[in-house]
């Protein structure tokens, strides 16, 4: 199978390139929704230019962890956290760390495609515009580059002024990825980006992720274990708010060290 070949290649590459830096270091992170202890003592180190997959049964805290990385989780009023998350060495919970700044560096793609009810062009230009880029020529450039980056330029280049909801779900999802790319982030967080898509769109997005990791660090939550196996370099297995195992993807899938990981991967539960 091709995927296996790819993974092998990656592993080799990894070994060679051991000088890679961490983008995120999570230290003893705890998170509560009110009384619900949703994340427990999370320690994770996420590397540059890799795809890190997060898997685990429903409700285990995958989305919560992801949303903590760009502090979106704080939109839930009852949330409390302890511990630290260093992004490029700086604690994102620091009092004077602006969330807007953090989120400008860290893009996010959501489970359900969520383009704005605007034209395709305006969707992509939204980010640059709110950050003060007004020059039409520069915006045009950014839009094209981002759409190309999300492998959807050819499909939409003649309909940039149409509403983003007039295209298919799979295309919408790539528009959302393009929208995230438009502000040239450092990291892209993806929360089950293909779970609402058909198999063909899924394939396209998976290929795109492989492509993107050349320039970005990607963290992807997925409930599809095959997907994790196919596209990620490292995999973290969450259960009940804890990280049970975190390792190279092929290690996790071929030779997990924890019984629960094995049970989960073999479909014993979840």
């Amino acid at each position: 199978m091709t995927t296996i070949v790819t993974k092998k290649a990656i592993t080799e590459e990894l070994v060679n390139d051991s000088a890679k830096k961490a983008v995120y270091e999570t230290n003893q992170l705890n998170l509560w929704y009110g009384a619900n202890h949703a994340l427990k003592n999370i320690d994770l180190e996420i590397m540059e230019n890799e795809v890190t997959a997060i898997i685990g049964p429903s409700g285990c805290g995958k989305s919560t962890y992801l949303k903590t990385l760009n502090r979106m989780v704080e939109l839930v009023p009852s949330v409390k956290t302890s511990g630290e998350i260093l992004y490029r060495g700086r604690n994102i919970f620091d009092h004077d760390y602006g969330v807007e700044e953090l989120r400008t560096r860290v893009g996010m793609v959501f489970q359900k495609p969520n383009p704005f009810p605007k034209s395709i062009y305006d969707n992509i230009a939204y980010g640059p515009r709110i950050h003060g880029i007004k020059n039409k020529k520069i915006l045009d450039e950014i839009v094209e580059k981002s759409l190309r980056g999300a492998a959807i330029w050819e499909e939409v280049k003649d309909r940039l002024n149409e509403n983003a909801y007039s295209i298919s779900g799979g295309q919408q999802q790539r528009i959302c990825i393009a929208r995230a790319l438009a502000i040239e982030p450092d990291v892209i967080l993806m929360d089950e980006p293909t779970s609402a898509l058909d198999p063909i769109s899924t394939l396209k997005v998976e290929e795109l992720v492989q492509e993107l990791k050349k320039d970005y660090s990607i963290i992807i939550v997925t409930h599809n274990m095959q997907q994790a196996a196919r596209i990620s370099d490292k995999t973290a297995f969450f259960l009940n708010g804890e990280v049970i195992e975190f390792d190279q993807t092929d290690t996790i899938f071929s030779n997990p060290s924890d019984k629960r990981t094995e049970d989960y991967i073999s479909g014993r539960f979840g």
Partner: protein, 292 residues
């Protein structure tokens, strides 16, 4: 042993099906009562007022002669009233809704404001008239001007606009908000660029419906003391004026029977204005119905 005998079930089935269809028609009939009432009401008013409706009716001032009586002052007065009510109530209503939906923390003050708005919606309009009379007409010495009546009406429909706007804002999918925040947009940017544009159809629809309520309200105007014998058009918001429902009320309470027909014609004009406003609301609603 079996408790449910198929035979018994089949036997009972007939009775259940008959009850089902009888009640279906009872419920349908009840629904149609509303429809029939509306048709009778409209038919009655049109058949009474049609003879009086003419261009002159729209361009004449009120008159002691039924055949010369026109609705110009009232129609223009109602439009002036809207000129005050629309901006006042929409700014206050949408502002409140944004605050409650986007900024308010879940605390006692917020709960109090919410509760207060829903209670305010249930206060009879005649009581708003008393408020307007005391505060705007007397205390603020605005007299029975367009401004005084407009402020009173604005407060009267404020709760409706707040609630409609809240619903419109709430119905903007959370994912859009998340997407905007996820790009590093600030709260106000997200509100202005994403939430309000998406919510505007709902807000407009609700506001237009609320405004059409304001156009038809009579009781507060009576309490404020809006006059009816007026032979001129107002030139500014501090002028006295009369409004459609006041004029209709006056005509309907005149002793000469012909004035009943004039009143019916006045009602037709009022209903036409309302129909116009409602169609705009419906058009907006349909046009923007399914977008996400």
């Amino acid at each position: 042993m079996r408790y449910i005998e198929q035979q018994a079930v089949v036997k009972r089935m007939n009775g259940r099906l008959i009850a089902n269809s009888i009640f279906k028609y009872i419920f349908l009939a009840a629904t149609l009562v509303a429809l029939v009432a509306l048709i009778i009401l409209l038919y009655r008013i049109v058949s009474q007022g049609m003879g009086h409706l003419s261009i002159e009716f729209l361009t004449n001032f009120a008159s002691r002669f039924p055949e010369k009586a026109g609705i110009k002052a009232a129609l223009v007065g109602s439009l002036w009233l809207m000129l005050v009510v629309a901006p006042t109530s929409i700014i206050l209503g949408v502002g409140s809704a944004i605050y409650l939906e986007e900024y308010a923390k879940q605390n006692r003050i917020t709960t109090f404001i919410r509760m207060n708005i829903s209670n305010l919606a249930g206060v009879p309009s005649v009581v708003f008239g008393l408020l307007g009379l005391t505060i705007f007409v007397r205390a603020m010495a605005l007299g029975n001007s367009i401004l005084a009546a407009g402020f009173t009406m604005s407060l009267l429909i404020l709760p409706v606009i707040v609630v409609a706007s809240q619903e419109a804002i709430r119905s903007v999918p959370g994912e859009l908000r998340d997407a905007s925040f996820g790009m590093g947009a600030t709260k106000w940017q997200t509100i202005v660029k994403i939430i309000l544009p998406a919510a505007i159809p709902g807000i407009l629809t609700g506001s237009i419906l609320a405004l059409s309520r304001a156009i038809g309200e009579t009781a507060p105007l009576i309490v404020i003391g809006v006059p009816v014998i007026i032979q001129f058009l107002p030139a500014g918001v501090m002028d006295t004026f009369t409004a459609l429902p006041m004029q209709i009320y006056d005509w309907s309470s005149r002793p000469q029977p012909e004035f009943q027909n004039v009143a019916a014609a006045g009602i037709m004009v009022l209903m036409a204005v309302l129909l116009f406003m409602n169609s705009i609301a419906v058009i907006i609603r349909n046009k923007f119905d399914k977008r996400y």
